[in-house]
């Protein structure tokens, strides 16, 4: 993992706004993510949390505002090997079977040169990534034969194989059973211990809750709350859509820091 200029924030978005088809979806987003941070973007469906992650990766162009990745303005940013993106699982289906190993191997493309055979360090990185998500024994199996949670772990291994410093994960826990969520949390915990910066979108935190150091709660395209997550009685502040009916037993704060 490269550790040049560890004080430069990996993500710096100032005054970010996104419009889809002319319709403003995100506005006034200021978000700085420090190196090594574990940030969860939370909020109800349609609050713009996935759109924000897509804007941070450049998949959605910004209508206004400036985005810097590792201190470089986005237009000049080409150091893609420092970024690992884990899209929502549905985007990984295709018409031809692909093995787990092949899918993870695609993560090495940020480091491979055109028309060159795979090096031994590529192969080691792929094997390590599969090991870390606990799927080393499934390498030869077709991705389609895996359960949803295992497929999600394959996508994390793919991002991991490129050995990036900054991870973006879009809803890694959606549709994943409890057991796989725990495996996922374990893998992400190990990544954090290696010093990676992690930004993930989640509808529910579940077993990820203990890892999250900072919760950014989105609401109607704006950041409604940005701060440490609440863990009272084991619940994470994921169900903000319940906030109209403030129920203290859900661990929702009553002191007015919430929208």
């Amino acid at each position: 993992m490269t550790t040049a200029a560890p004080t430069t924030p990996p993500v710096e978005l100032v005054g970010g706004a996104v419009a889809i088809g002319g319709r403003p979806v995100l506005r006034g987003i200021d978000l700085v993510v420090e190196p090594g941070a574990f940030v969860a973007l939370l909020g109800p469906n349609g609050s713009g949390k996935s759109t924000l992650v897509r804007a941070l990766t450049g998949l959605r162009p910004l209508a206004s505002g400036t985005l810097r990745l590792f201190g470089t303005p986005f237009a000049q940013f080409h150091d893609w090997r420092r970024i690992g993106f884990v899209p929502q699982r549905s985007s990984a289906e295709s018409g031809v079977p692909a093995s787990v190993w092949e899918t993870v191997a695609a993560g090495r493309l940020t480091r491979r040169r055109l028309l060159r055979p795979m090096s031994s360090s590529d192969k080691t990185a792929i094997a390590d990534a599969l090991e870390l998500v606990g799927l080393a024994d499934r390498a030869k199996d077709g991705v389609a034969t895996l359960s949803g949670g295992q497929q999600q772990r394959v996508l994390i291994a793919r991002a991991l194989a490129g050995d990036p410093d900054l991870f973006f994960l879009d809803e890694p826990t959606a549709g994943v059973d409890a057991r796989n969520q725990r495996a996922l949390a374990e893998a992400l915990g190990r990544l954090r211990d290696r010093g990676a910066t992690i930004v993930l979108v989640a509808h529910e935190l579940g077993p990820l809750a203990p890892l999250v150091e900072r919760a950014v709660v989105m609401r109607e395209g704006r950041i409604a709350y940005d701060g440490p997550p609440r863990h009272d009685d084991g619940h994470s502040p994921h169900d903000v859509h319940h906030h109209e009916t403030l129920r203290p037993r859900h661990g929702l704060p009553l002191e007015g820091r919430w929208p």
């Binding site: 990766t57 450049g58 998949l59 080409h78 893609w80 090997r81 970024i83 993106f85 899209p87 985007s91 990984a92 295709s94 018409g95 031809v96 079977p97 692909a98 093995s99 190993w101 092949e102 899918t103 191997a105 695609a106 993560g107 493309l109 940020t110 491979r112 055109l114 028309l115 030869k140 199996d141 077709g142 034969t145 359960s147 996508l155 793919r158 490129g162 973006f168 059973d177 409890a178 057991r179």
Partner: protein, 337 residues
Amino acid sequence: MSPAELFSLPFMQRALLAALFTGLAAPAIGTYLVQRRLALMGDGIGHVAVTGVAIGLLTGWSPTWTAVVVAAVGAVAIELIRERGHTNGDVALALLFYGGLAGGVLLTGIGGQSAARLQQYLFGSLLTISISDVIVTMVLATVVVLIAVGLAPQLFAVSHDREFARVAGLDVRLYNILVAVLAAVSVTVAMRTVGLLLVSALMVVPVATAQQLTRSFRTTLAAAMVIGVLASVGGLVISAFASYRASVAPGPSIVLLALAGFAVTWPIGVWLRHRSRLRQPFADDPVGHEVSDDHDDRHPHRHGDDCGHLAVPHDDHVDYVHDGHRHAPHGEHYDEH
């Protein structure tokens, strides 16, 4: 005429060479089309290429080259329409289907050419292929295969998950257009072999056949190319021998042989998928379980590696599938899982 005499005929040798290279190139690029769920794109390009051939016939230029150019333009148009998302991919294809075919027939008529001349390109005319046609076929097919195999890691990533590929820094649009142009080239290469109306079959059917039996992309790609060669060379040979008794065109023989291969492998694929579904590990069971009580008499053996019941991993132990139950050994008895 003996087989040896038949294969010593120059036109037959030219046809065999063309069939070999076409059978290799069409499934190579077809694999990427199938992967992107654009199996019918070859068909769309084929229809557009009809206009290209007609332009060649009208102007006296080589129909092969006018078809390459027009098909490539059509393929890039399909790709751009799809990418901009103004229209669904299938609607974009349909628009080009009809425009291409209508334009081709219209131009052929204006040029005063007979429909029979156009038909050579619509259904293939492998046995009337000239030496220069064979050379062009070999060169173009080699280019398609080299790119499809050489850039396989990049093309796989882009076709598999374009958003991930973009964040990995790949120029997704460039690779998509490359695939579109290569597909157009393959269509024109296969035009003389199986004809423009059947060209998509040689791009798609070998891939569909291969993936009945494969689990990975690379083996699918390789197997599709082998199947493509077997189908195109085999179909040509069958049609050559059958021609003693009746008029059998090589194009349809090739396509029907490829389809026969699919018909044979499909049940095997169904069985393999069924088997792998049965053996899939059971998910964590949150409900709990009860002790099995109904098998004391019918259950004289211990479940184990050789008991004949399907063993499926479940969490930290193994369940034995038994008359629709799942038995997990637990001390002296079996739990129902």
